[in-house]
Symmetry: C2
Subunit: 335 residues, 2 copies
DNA sequence: TTGTAAGCGTTATCAA
DNA sequence: TTGATAACGCTTACAA
């Protein structure tokens, strides 16, 4: 069913029907009524494809995340979808699995779909795909991870501060043998969360023990393996700061298996406040990120761009430490 | 950048360039080389919008779920996205929030986008939007919840059996005062999970106590409120079967607040195996649904349809009971 | 107020 | 093997 069908049945031209639908005030009331009535009765839906082709723009935005099942990203996604749809935009979501090739594919796809803008959590700071994006010139908002793309807006979290606060909290509890499981150093989230940990230790004059710094890949398995290495050290740490929720899950599994009590034998603190964190026994102390806010601000920045703003804007949000029960004062270990 | 740009720079016609890209064998090798080289160098991306308009079909599928943040749906979504993208299709995801109006909007949107097919977890068995869908005639797969749409394929879980098994398990542990928090009776998931509970009780000749049957709306708050009512009963239940993960979260919060020990004071069993279920202390015994399988089968059915199959197919998957630590034999309460 | 016609970028048909 | 041309469904000057 097309405009032409409607037009013919009414003995009108397509343009009149089109106008009746998109600029009702430009068409005589009786004509308009007739059109609207028939459109309703026949359940006519305008073809957005044809409209987009004509207008040269689509009312859709692309979103690339690395794992839609990760509650951090699904929270961000939900907020973006909400803001986008309230602006009349569709969200096309692509999963990239932390895989640069998949990212590049997703990006190509979005380009072909002519999305009006892209919100992007890139797995590579300086990936080739980003240069493509720059060349393509579509409005872009980087979330979660900083990128080298100068023209992009960004919504990031102050990871360095968040992890420094977390580490300081552990220090305040009397720990000195604090280990960390960091993310890939190719990612700003990985680097910054490690850097915050280091700064906190340095500030207190604590010498960094290389074996206490494990580098994971933000996935569950690497958390588990890193924890395993930490546990097998001659002098294992008394506290552990994990750089994201997935790796924390792996750590917890291992700790349970090995009957390492939390926080009795090991204080545990992790970035990201997944739903399960508060159901853990004891509930997990975490650095929470404002997922909802990240998503809605990212979407807002994008729509500002679409509305004409040209100067890139960068927003840095605060994380906050939620103290629950997984960290204990060091003295408690002696009891 | 369009085909015309490429064509002009090469002194060729658009048709030749188009062919070089889509039917390489129909164009002379040297010409093809020249085209491909320039396309590559300029980073030309074909306009999928224009292509779709011309072809009359898009390579995208629509997905409507009620909450992308619910791990059940994000699991299903991830699988669908994976299968779709491996078939070269984009997934357009819409959140409907269990709201029939939002569902109708989402559906209208998908119609306008001319998606090739729709995968749909509808909040209403017989919603008006479903009739629209039928009229529109796009290939549809119903997931999670059955619909009245005769032409649709479906991928459902045997909810009745799942909840009957769960209830029987509680009965086997010696419980007789078993309550349930069910979902809305407007949904097949709500009805079937309640029916399974009833059948199990009936089979053992246990009389149903009306106050033990609470009807929630599958959201966290209603789980909490229902549990509150159950706890305030003169003779509270000794075991509780909750019909989904979100409501279970609400129940757990309340139980903790009231210092009701699980499973000491109350055995707890829930539908859905959220990530947090196994991290709970004690780990939650659940009826797990095969989310990954639901998603991938749904997508496969859709692609079969797109490939030409016309007869509707219905798949019913088995859930399975995962026994963890949240249910105890009744005797244990006396200790 | 309405209609005619051009054009968005692509593919497909037909002719050269 | 290549090119001219029409078509997909819509919007929008411009003309009537």
């Amino acid at each position: 069913m097309t405009l032409l069908d409607i037009a013919r049945q009414l003995g009108l031209s397509v343009s009149t029907v089109s106008r009746a639908l998109t600029r009702p005030d430009m068409v005589a009331a009786p004509t308009r009524e007739r059109v609207l009535e028939l459109v309703e009765r026949q359940g006519y839906q305008p073809n957005a494809i044809a409209r987009s082709l004509q207008k040269g723009v689509t009312r859709s935005v692309g979103l690339i995340v690395s794992d839609i099942q990760n509650p951090f990203y699904s929270g961000v996604t939900k907020a973006i979808e909400r803001v986008a749809s309230s602006n009349g935009y569709t969200t096309v979501i692509c999963n990239a699995d932390e895989d640069l090739t998949k990212e590049a594919n997703a990006l190509r796809l979005l380009a072909q779909l002519q999305v009006a803008g892209v919100i992007y959590a890139s797995s590579g700071y300086d990936a080739e795909s980003l240069r493509e994006l720059g060349r393509w010139g579509v409005p872009t908002v980087a979330i979660d991870r900083a990128t080298s793309l100068q023209t992009a807006d960004s919504v990031l979290v102050d990871n360095l501060r968040g992890s420094r606060e977390a580490t300081e909290y552990l220090l305040d509890l009397g720990h000195t043998r604090i280990a960390t499981i960091a993310g890939p150093t190719s990612l700003t989230t990985g680097r910054d969360r490690l850097e915050g940990y280091r700064q906190a230790l340095l500030d207190r004059g604590i010498h960094e023990i290389p074996a206490y710094v494990q580098i994971g890949d933000f996935k569950e398995a690497s958390g588990r393996e890193s924890a395993e290495r930490l546990l097998s050290l001659q002098v294992p740490p008394t506290a552990l700061f994990v750089a994201n929720n997935e790796m924390a899950a792996g750590v917890i599994d291992l700790l349970r298996e090995r009957r390492v009590r939390i926080p009795g034998d090991m204080s545990l603190l992790s970035f990201d406040d997944a739903r399960w964190a508060r159901y853990l026994e004891p509930p997990l102390t975490v650095v929470a990120q404002p997922t909802e806010e990240i998503g809605s601000i990212a979407a807002q920045l994008l729509f500002e761009r679409l509305a004409g703003r040209t100067a890139p804007r960068a927003r840095v949000l605060r994380s906050h430490l939620i103290i629950r029960g997984s960290c204990a004062a060091l003295a408690a270990r002696q009891e």
